[in-house]
Amino acid sequence: MLQAITKRLKREKRGISTVIVVMLSLVLVVMIVGNVVLWSYQMNQLDMDRMQETVTITDVKKHGSSGTSMDIKNTGPLSLRIVAVWISTSTTHQRYDADLFLNSGESVTYIREDIEFPKDAFVAKVITERGNVAVFSED
């Protein structure tokens, strides 16, 4: 039975090119769809992580003679990285680069001697690597 089918397949040459074209097209389609689906999944994962991330600034105080200390808490389920600190007053908006990791549920006091504690009302912000912002305002 199997031998007969093999023999027939070997003899019958019609439709071979169609089959090859269909197979090659299929490979291309699978490549496109697979690539897009995988990338979409990866970006969705990034967006999900970003939505789950929550960080809060509980207090901003003067540290030493002119520095600033910030109490930051990660209240989300994921660890996060703070990449920037903003101190904004009515006259200036200043950005400072930062590099601080916080595990889930962790609280830290972030001390920066180079950030001058503002004399007037201010708004302090921290920016995470995923793009979330925590705000603290002091009148």
């Binding site: 090659l24 291309l28 490549m31 496109i32 690539n35 897009v36 990338w39 979409s40 970006m43 990034l46 920037a84 903003w86 904004s88 009515s90 006259t91 908006h93 950005r95 912000k125 920016i127 690597e129 995923r130 793009g131 912002v133």
Partner: protein
Amino acid sequence: MRRKKVKKLVKRFLRDKRAITPVLSHLLLTVVAVAIMSLATSATFMITTNLRETMGERVIVEDVWFNSATGTVDVYMRNVGKADSQVSGVYVNHVDESFNGPFRLEVNKHGWLRIAYSWDSGESYYIDIVTTRGTHVASYYKAP
């Protein structure tokens, strides 16, 4: 001896003209097939790259400063996506405004986008920033 054999073989090959047409046609068909497949593969690569870049574009606004010293609205932006980004238009209250263009942000880069707009204190403005791929970053901001 060996040289003679090779010479004989070449002579025979040159004299024998049979089956040249099928060989040529097969060769041409192979060339055409390879060319078409290369085109298809390049197109696939281009399409997926464009799609990936469009899907991977993420830009955030870190800070908005209604700058009274310069009379502009300064927006600090950061590229948190997986593709480079370029701002193509800025709309304040749905009206196209000029900015310090071309404003291009590579992945993980950040910078000030300065919008030439005379704002009034206490007013709220809907600022919509559009990238070349069509991503919108829009929100309401109140001038101090």
